[in-house]
């Protein structure tokens, strides 16, 4: 139990359970069904009474287009058999991390003790061009999308700006894709469980130069969920909830790249990281393992720099030099990242929380790859990172 800075009461937050669907192509499944599976799995994993859940916070981005469905909060609450206040969070690809953040703050304040958080996205039931158009809704419609800027295009603009400012090559980026595919081999929930080579990445057709098809995460159907509870609830009910969310932060930026000071950095992520680290009482040097938002290979570079694992301009070589591989000093995306695990947009933030929870609990295929009592960080970025939410997870002190 912590005492907040203002002297007010602040409860600790525990992850009582997590649930995932397989990430992949499930075009026939409405997002309510995807979330139903993940949400029930999380409730089962937490082993709590359904009646104890007080709220549902749900991330989703493009349901109006792929599911022809708005007002999804009550819909997905019904899918998991809950009659509680249920709200959808939409912050582009950071939708479910912002849902997690709201749940953490509500539990800390004492307002709620048990919250189901999560997200889902159905993406492959529409064509790739239509999905590309849907994803572009996260950019500035008047000033970016109207000129034909796609999301791969936006990250390509950032990649070229990075190369110009700091150096680096497509081959450096290719090592990130190779690493993340390798990490996903044993992830039973991952979309791609096959190794690729740097040649595969470099030879793939261009999507938005300098980025090619293998620099990009795939379109994915899937859902994720977590049951977050107060420390007091966990103790009173004898829950096995050994993982705590000890820090939360969110940063913002101008939505359009053209209006920003930096084209090769993500200041919103830096702000979110600073806030989350301060909140958890840690520094960047304390971070042992991270799940970051590698929607494109270059995004992993900018994420690790924003998190303070690398100085700006130095993250580009990290995968090639095997620093962010499983055996390296800064393992990044042990779950396979968005690149190989898949990126059902609204589900990705909670998926990162679930992956880190498994790593810390010891039931992740790569739990052996990390130190004892690790400090773990989840980085979930929306758009070109104009919405970024970051969480710190640690073993609970009890």
């Amino acid at each position: 139990m912590d005492v907040a800075d203002g002297g007010g009461y602040m409860s600790g937050v525990r992850v009582a359970g997590i649930g995932l669907t397989h990430f992949g192509q499930h075009p026939e499944r409405p997002s309510r069904d995807l979330f139903g599976e993940a949400g029930l799995a999380a409730l089962d994993d937490a082993a709590i009474e359904r009646e104890d859940v007080e709220a549902l916070m749900y991330g989703n981005f493009m349901g109006e287009i792929s599911d022809h469905q708005g007002h999804m909060g009550p819909l997905v609450a019904e899918a998991v058999g809950l009659d509680v206040p249920a709200t959808r969070f939409e912050s582009a690809c950071a939708s479910s991390a912002t849902a997690v953040r709201e749940a953490v703050m509500n539990i800390r304040s004492g307002e709620q003790d048990v919250v189901l958080v999560g997200g889902a996205e159905r993406m492959t039931n529409i064509s790739t061009p239509d999905a590309t158009e849907a994803l572009a809704l996260a950019a500035d419609d008047l000033y970016e999308v109207s000129a034909g800027m796609t999301f791969p295009g936006a990250y390509a603009l950032m990649a070229r700006a990075y190369f110009e400012q700091y150096g680096g090559s497509r081959e450096d980026l290719a090592h990130i894709a190779v690493k993340n595919h390798y990490n996903a081999l044993e992830n039973e929930y991952a979309q791609y469980r096959r190794e690729i080579s740097t040649e595969d990445v470099l030879d793939a057709p261009p999507v938005a130069e300098p980025l090619g098809l293998y620099d990009a995460c795939p379109l994915t159907d899937g859902a994720s969920a977590a049951v977050l509870v107060s420390e007091e609830y966990a103790e009173a009910n004898g829950l096995d909830a050994s993982v705590a969310i000890t820090g939360t932060g969110q940063g913002g930026d101008k939505i359009a790249l053209q209006d920003r000071e930096f084209l090769a950095r993500t200041p919103a992520a830096r702000k979110a990281a600073t806030e989350a680290y301060d909140d958890a009482g840690i520094a960047a040097e304390d971070v042992d393992v991270v799940e970051v938002h590698d929607c494109f290979t270059i995004a992993e570079v900018m994420a690790t720099e924003a998190l303070g694992l690398y100085e700006p301009g130095e993250g580009i070589a990290a995968a090639r030099e095997e620093e962010t591989t499983r055996e390296g000093p800064h393992p990044v995306n042990l779950s396979g990242g968005l690149k190989a695990k898949g990126h059902p947009v609204g589900a990705t933030g909670t998926n990162q929380i679930a992956a880190l929870t498994r790593l810390l609990r010891g039931d992740h295929p790569h739990s052996d790859a990390i130190a004892d009592s690790p400090t773990a960080v989840a980085h979930n970025a929306g758009g070109t990172a104009a919405s970024t939410a970051i969480h710190v997870l640690e073993e609970a002190q009890s």
Binding site: T128, P129, D130, T132, E133, A136, L142, Y143, E144, S146, A147, G148, M149, T150, P152, G153, A156, L157, M158, R160, A161, E164, P205, P206, V207, A208, E209, P210, L211, L213, K254, A256, L257, Q258, D259, L263
Partner: protein, 127 residues
């Protein structure tokens, strides 16, 4: 274009650029922004005036797009660039130069172009 489908501010800017009278919004502290905008996002000033858009800018970054949305299907491959024009930046399609020949740092002039696929107006740049 009917009033219902017109995006006030943005469409006015395209009209202005098309007639050679492009502008941006400036506050008294020299910050630039683009319409529609009621307050300087940098300093909070609400005293915004229209200032002439520089006739030439510099390509800050660009991409050659090969895979795109249905609205640009027949435009591929096309170049999208972010161009710095004094205190503001604009995103648009680079025309009049082969995609392979576009370079960062190149000088370009803002203009209005029509997309190949839909004929919609958008911001463009020419050498």
């Amino acid at each position: 274009m009917s009033d219902e489908s017109r995006d006030a501010g943005h469409a006015d800017l395209l009209d202005a650029i098309e007639s050679g009278e492009g502008y941006y919004l400036a506050c008294e502290n020299g910050h630039g922004s683009l319409p529609p905008q009621r307050i300087c996002p940098e300093c909070g000033s609400r005293e915004l005036t229209q200032e002439a858009l520089p006739e030439e800018g510099e390509v800050e970054t660009f991409t050659v797009i090969h895979a795109t949305t249905p609205s640009f299907a027949e435009d591929t491959p096309y170049v999208v660039a972010v161009v710095g024009l004094g205190p503001v930046g604009l995103t648009g399609q680079v025309r009049g130069v082969e995609p392979d020949a576009v370079e960062t740092g190149a000088s370009v002039r803002p203009t209005v172009v029509e997309t190949e696929t839909t004929g919609e107006r958008t911001i463009g740049f020419r050498p």
